[in-house]
């Protein structure tokens, strides 16, 4: 054993740490011939003795007696404030949280994928046609004798009864502000529907010949041509009102969608 290895062993020896027999023998042999390491062991033993003296004195040290009382107050307050479930219930609680989370996610996915509002003009038209309260089949009103309400109607069609959306019972949906002469008209048969709570506006292409069924007058143009119209669809998926879209507005919309 050299001095470096002996210094390692000296520390353990001075601190009475259990040592392997071969290490102890090698150390004793080294100490017999090395005065420096022997002195080191003596000094380290003295330090250990001093530490034990300090340690023995420290046994009498005591924390303040008020700590325990304060801790109990804090503990009682904590238990009242946040009652903890027993440890054996923790595992079960984790499963409950996991199942609840999975159910929430599934509900969110289902709501997101539910076809609450039609997304294409064709689907709107088909829903409107198939609905028992849709204007196409319920109470069509042909009003060919009426005069156009506005001169800014491309000379083809005009609204028969300009009515704000609110008149259909809506509280949230509002007609676009930029439309002046092409306002929403309550569809025939929509009067008996529940109040409008929420809805969406869907743009569709309507044959001019079918406009009278929706309560709109034909001014000019062939019955086979189509015009763009916005349909207000309520929270129940049923159409409430319709408005014609001007050519300028359609052109603007097309430009935006291309961009």
């Amino acid at each position: 054993m050299n001095c470096a290895a002996a210094r390692e062993a000296v520390l353990d020896c001075a601190r009475d740490v259990p040592m392997a027999d071969d290490v102890r023998l090698a150390l004793e042999e080294h100490l017999g011939g090395c005065a420096n390491c022997a002195a080191e062991l003596g000094w380290q033993r003295g330090l250990t003795a001093a530490f034990r003296g300090l340690s023995a004195e420290a046994k009498a040290w005591n924390a303040s007696s008020t700590i325990e009382d304060r801790l109990h107050e804090a503990f009682a307050a904590r238990v009242v404030a946040t009652p903890r479930p027993p440890v054996e219930w923790k595992q079960a609680a984790r499963w409950i949280y996991a199942l609840a989370s999975a159910a929430l996610i599934a509900l969110a996915v289902w709501l997101g994928s539910r076809p609450s509002t039609p997304t294409s003009p064709e689907s709107v038209a088909s829903r409107a046609a198939s609905s028992p309260t849709s204007p196409a089949v319920s109470t069509p009103s042909v009003t060919e004798e009426r005069k156009p309400a506005s001169s800014k109607t491309e000379g083809k069609v005009t609204a028969q009864r300009p009515v704000p959306v609110g008149a259909a019972g809506g509280r949230r949906a509002a007609p676009p502000k930029q439309v002046r002469s092409f306002e929403f008209v309550t569809l025939p048969g929509a009067a008996g529907l529940p109040d409008l709570e929420s809805g969406s506006v869907v743009r569709i292409a309507v044959p001019v010949g079918a406009l009278p069924e929706y309560g709109l007058d034909i001014v000019q143009g062939g019955s086979k041509t189509t015009v763009n119209a916005d349909v207000l669809v309520g929270q129940d998926g049923l159409a409430r009102a319709i408005r014609l879209v001007s050519a300028e507005e359609s052109a603007t919309q097309d430009t935006r969608s291309r961009q």
Binding site: R7, L11, L47, S55, L71
Partner: protein, 214 residues
């Protein structure tokens, strides 16, 4: 009930604390608070700080008992780890707190019978000097000395509390003892100088007085 608690393991006590059982906290506090307090006092040298640390440790125990993992480390090592962090935080905040605690003579805690007053004074002085030298160590070396030499933990338990390898504990202890040797020799030399100066002054006074009188 009390006997039952006394036989309960620390792990079980922690589980009961997590379940909101106050008697488990009482038992764990009575069982372990002295270790925490001594560790904090050895580390800081300030009884008030040691009190605060002891309280903080058990407040953290209340909060974190549900998170304790029994197989990972022993409760004592876990508690000492918390105490170590609390002490470090407080020492970081106020380095002025590294003063000496009141000595046992001030507390009146010395034994009444002192067969060898001079010898006892010498021992008390030695202990006071050692305490001062330990407090002068850098924190990372001080905590190894406190755990291994003053609290007499094994290398493995100290490594658990310090969250380091056993080899690191051994090497830090080596280094710490070497630093202590230097610091103690400095303190000893300082004390000898002070004693010499005091003795010289006490010898001078009568001479000066005689001169004045003359």
């Amino acid at each position: 009930m009390t006997d039952d608690l006394e036989r309960t393991s620390d792990d079980t006590l922690l589980a009961r604390i997590a379940a909101g059982r106050p008697e488990a906290l009482t038992e764990l506090f009575r069982r372990r608070h002295a270790d925490i307090y001594r560790f904090a006092l050895h580390m800081s040298g300030t009884p008030a700080l040691a009190d605060d640390v002891t309280q903080d440790v058990f407040l953290i125990v209340m909060r974190d008992a549900p998170r304790y993992e029994a197989g990972r480390s022993s409760v004592t090592a876990w508690l000492r780890g918390i105490a170590r962090n609390c002490v470090r935080q407080r020492l970081d905040h106020d380095s002025r707190l590294e003063s000496l605690p009141a000595t046992s003579e001030d507390d009146g805690a010395l034994p009444v019978v002192q067969p060898d007053p001079l010898g006892e004074m010498s021992r008390v002085e030695r202990i006071a000097m050692l305490r001062r030298a330990v407090l002068a160590l850098p924190v990372r070396y001080r905590e190894v000395v406190v755990l291994c030499d003053l609290e007499e933990l094994t290398y493995a338990d100290a490594a658990d509390a310090l969250e380091c390898a056993i080899g690191t504990v051994r090497s830090r202890l080596h280094r710490a003892r070497a630093m202590l040797a230097m610091r103690l020799s400095e303190l000893q030399a300082e004390q000898e100088r002070r004693v010499t100066n005091t003795r010289d002054r006490s010898l001078d006074v009568p001479v000066t007085q005689k001169r004045c009188m003359a």
